[in-house]
């Protein structure tokens, strides 16, 4: 077979910062003007502003005509990849999958973009029906009973869950007592950070030798102070915790709630659910497992499902249906609600896309998505482990679900190059990979998640890239050292991002600190 490797070169425009393109007096768009009659009646309007509050200078925004605005941002977009352009399997835990284009048609319809959240419910029956039906679908997907589409992302799903935990225990008068939340080292960072930010002490379970949350440590950690457990499963390693039911049962015995981070449920649809694993609640990233595009990092949805008993604590409002009239409405009347986590009601276009995706696949299709995601992952792993310098985390537990955390430990020992070097070089091949969440318990880690959207050819192409980079590390160190070569930019000096004296977060700050190209004033 001939090599699949492409002599790639990324678009390189050397695009100026937008302020460098500004030309005094240019207009990118014109704004409606007040009618003559209005001007006669109320004057210029500006003089009505209380004197001290009137801005007399113009904000220092760039001045550009429309063609130049379009060209600039086109160039920037062309200097970006995205799942539509690359074999996007290197972003482990994030389930980069194809976002069907038909769903964009729905999401861009003015029938959803141009709705105001305070319109009368009679005028938004369509979107309310989507919310309502989505809840019905997720009852089956999760096994749980009640829904909120409000959280604006996975981390926000954790926020909602923590808020629910607090509301529940507060209602029972146990809030003061229960001030600990237990999570695991390979759960997503949000499962530790958010409870902490919401005032809980966080206990982090280390992995055992197989990479699973240590059961003994867990038993020791559990107590009457435990408010809840926050578990990702499978964890970022790709290892599924087979004893999860034991964990949830133990928690319940202590009166704690069990909260499931199913941001990434992509290996489990139709196979294993929150309900059977004993969880009281769970959230799902509609922008990952359910195919809404990631948008460079949101907008997103961490849809929350909870057990019946927790329904009264859900964020307000919830969507209900009047059984008599068949009409949908927003119910704000939840006196025990944990409050609100987000402005208005959630990110409607994301929910809509997820609804459409599920309805295009049905039960069999969802399950097939997961099964193929699992197959793709194991197929990739089998071959990846043959690449020189690569090993798997926790080799004593070879089973993986939909992703795998790997290690370049051996590569590092033998060549001096680690995961950061590989990451820099991979940009030369028109794709990317992610060096895994910190802390790097697994040395020189990287996490690959080849979701169901990628073909065998895609996976093989990616594998060849990995092989070539590994070979270069051993045989052509200069190539690695100076990478990237064919990317939009060359080696970035990170000192300018970490040193407060040097960093510049805006063009204004840059201009204050520097003259010329990073020449300090």
């Amino acid at each position: 077979m001939t090599s699949r490797i492409r002599p790639f070169h990324h678009m390189r425009w050397n695009e100026p910062i937008i302020y460098q393109l500004s030309v005094e007096g240019q207009r990118g768009i014109l704004v409606p003007e007040a009618e003559k009659e209005i001007e006669q009646i109320v004057g210029d309007g500006l003089s009505s502003i209380p004197g001290n509050m009137r801005r007399k200078d113009l904000p220092n925004l760039p001045e550009m005509a429309q063609p130049q605005v379009v060209r600039h941002f086109n160039h920037l977009s062309q200097e970006n990849l995205g799942a539509d352009s690359n074999i996007d399997i290197g972003q482990g835990t994030c389930t980069m999958k194809h976002s069907p284009k038909i769903n964009e048609v729905f999401a861009r319809s003015h029938k959803i973009t141009d709705l105001h959240p305070y319109q009368d419910c009679s005028t938004v029956q369509g979107i309310l029906e989507i919310f309502y039906r989505t809840e019905e679908l997720f009852r089956e997907i999760s096994g749980l009973d009640r829904c909120s589409v409000q959280p604006g992302g996975g981390t926000h799903g954790v926020v909602a869950m923590v808020s629910m935990v607090r509301a529940w225990h507060r209602d029972r008068g146990e809030d003061q007592q229960r001030d600990e939340i237990i999570t695991t080292l390979f759960s997503h960072p949000a499962d530790a950070a958010v409870p902490k930010a919401k005032g809980y002490k966080v206990v982090i379970l280390p992995p055992d030798e197989e990479g699973l949350p240590d059961l003994e440590a867990y038993k020791n950690a559990l107590s009457e102070k435990t408010a809840a457990i926050f578990f990702t499963n499978p964890e970022d390693t790709g290892i599924f915790n087979s004893r999860i039911l034991e964990f949830t049962e133990l928690a319940h015995q202590k009166g704690a709630l069990c909260c499931y981070d199913q941001a990434n449920a992509n290996g489990l649809l139709g196979i294993a659910r929150a309900r059977e694993a004993g969880f009281d609640m769970s959230f799902f990233n509609l922008h990952k497992t359910f195919s809404s595009p990631h948008g460079c990092g949101g907008p997103a949805t961490g849809l929350l499902m909870v057990d019946r008993k927790l329904g009264v604590y859900l964020p307000v409002p919830v969507v209900r249906r009047n059984e008599r009239t068949g009409r949908y409405f927003l119910d704000f009347n939840l006196p025990k609600s944990c409050g609100k986590v987000k402005a208005f009601f959630g990110v409607a276009p994301v929910v809509l896309r997820a609804y459409a995706w599920i309805m295009s696949l049905g039960a069999d299709g969802l399950e097939e998505a997961s099964r193929i995601a699992v197959l793709n992952n194991n197929y990739f792993m089998k071959k990846m482990l043959k690449v020189r310098g690569c090993s798997i985390s926790f080799p004593r537990h070879p089973g993986r679900v939909e992703q795998v955390r790997y290690s370049w430990e051996k590569l590092k020992e033998e060549t001096g190059f680690g995961t950061g070097d590989v990451q820099r070089r991979i940009a030369d091949f028109g794709t990317h990979y992610w060096a895994s969440h910190e802390p790097w318990v697994i040395p020189e880690p990287f996490t690959i998640e080849p979701s169901e959207s990628y073909s065998r050819d895609d996976i093989d192409e990616y594998l060849e890239i990995m092989e070539q980079i590994s070979r270069e590390c051993y045989e052509e160190p200069e190539v690695i050292r100076h990478a990237p070569h064919n990317s939009t930019v060359h080696h970035i000096d990170h000192e300018y991002l970490d040193d407060p004296g040097k960093w510049a977060i805006t063009w204004r700050e840059y201009s204050k600190k520097y003259t010329g190209y990073f020449q300090e004033r």
Binding site: I17, Y19, R27, G28, V31, L46, I49, N52, R54, L58, L61, E63, M64, V69, H72, F73, L76, S77, E79, N80, A83, D84, Q91, F106, D114, H116, T123, G126, I127, E129, G153, T155, P189, A193, A197, S242, L269, H287, G295, G297, F344, A348, M359, S360, A363, G365, A369, L375, S453, S455, R456, S487, H490, L497, W503, I505, R508, E509, Y510, Y517
Partner: protein, 463 residues
Amino acid sequence: MAEKKRVYPYIPNSEPRIREAMLRETGVDSVDELLTDIPAELRMKGRMNLPVPFSAEADLKRHVEGILSRNITSGEYLSFLGAGCYDHHIPAVVDEIIGRSEFLTAYAGEPYEDHGRFQALFEYQSMMAELLDFDVCNVPTYDGAQAASTSLRMASRITGRKKALLAGNMNPDRLRVVQTYLDPVMSVEIIGWERDSGLLDLEDLGSRLATDVAAVYFENPSYLGAIEDQGEKIARMAREAGALTVVFVDPSSLGVIQPPSRYGADIACGDIQPLGIHMNYGGGVGGFICTRSDRKYVEEYPSRLFGIAPTSGKEWGFGDVAWERTSFANRETAKEFVGTHAALWGIAAAVYLASMGPKGMADLGKVIIQRSLYARKVIGEIPGVSTSTPSAFCFKEFVVDLTRTGRKVGEINEKLLSRGIFGGKDLSEDFPELGQSALFCITEKITMRDIDRLVEVLGDILC
């Protein structure tokens, strides 16, 4: 599970022969062999009971569009709704750019392969900082409510204090979110406001300012549309009490109204939805937080902050500033948390601000004020209707008091609806002290004819 014969367009390896070949190369006979870590008791019994899918795209389209057709949009009807979500004109360039797949479907690539995203968001930060006349701005948070909450928590970390004083005339939806975010780490007290003027009650503020107060928070314009012109005084009072001043501001006003930095705010925050983002039934929100370029502030941001850096090729390079702050780097010891928020809306706002430019933002503010003044005047001339309280200068929104008509806002809005008009947000539940009042919003899309039509229909309804 029996092997399916269907080949799914979104699942290439569902094709039976490929599936088989891959299983073989993986060394197993079936996917189930790869799932042995999932014990039987955890396995779902039977199939999910989901509706029959619409496998053909044409069928799916008809199904979904059939449901959506039950919505009536704010373009189809004439809308006077605002209250935190605004029907501004979205320049077509904005949707063009954020619809490009390179941005839409990207996520977390490195600055080497996703250079464009970093630059676009750096430019977003840069333009926002100029609009706000501050030095630093973050990559967007979920929404303005989170931006407000985080601003308060930043203030708390900076001052080491645990109480927030919140303006009583703040947006009630936002207040609920702030309460959730602060609970139980910070406590909240509400500052009174004067009904007649619509402005903060400085006496009440003074009485609450104690050594445990981390921040004084108010909104400009207030929820009821009034421009709070006592900012300088408030900031001084706060400063004297060792507290910071946090101001939530509508960025669409900043072409003509002073930014909070100019009247003493330490942190300015808000929502970028008015800057070129569709309302999306309230889903078009994204928050910003702006501060001075002071390490003390910067290090308290939980959000991503994209900075500029040199490269070995002398290009503009980018990356995360002070990564160690974030929960990605430092889990439970991070500054709050960060995650997938609303980056694409940040790019939208960047395209919007670049298109509008300084003059566009000024023109926008001007026309909104002119038409609002006109609307406020002519609506106020309808018998039984008053628009004179609060008396302060209002930007974009104002209170229409219908109490003297003897009708309920809900009832009048229903009548307006039947005539193709979305009336103002009913305030009677959140602000019972205002009687039967509604909050009307006038964006640049509302013309004189629209206002006249409203007045005519309102007149009809009321007599």
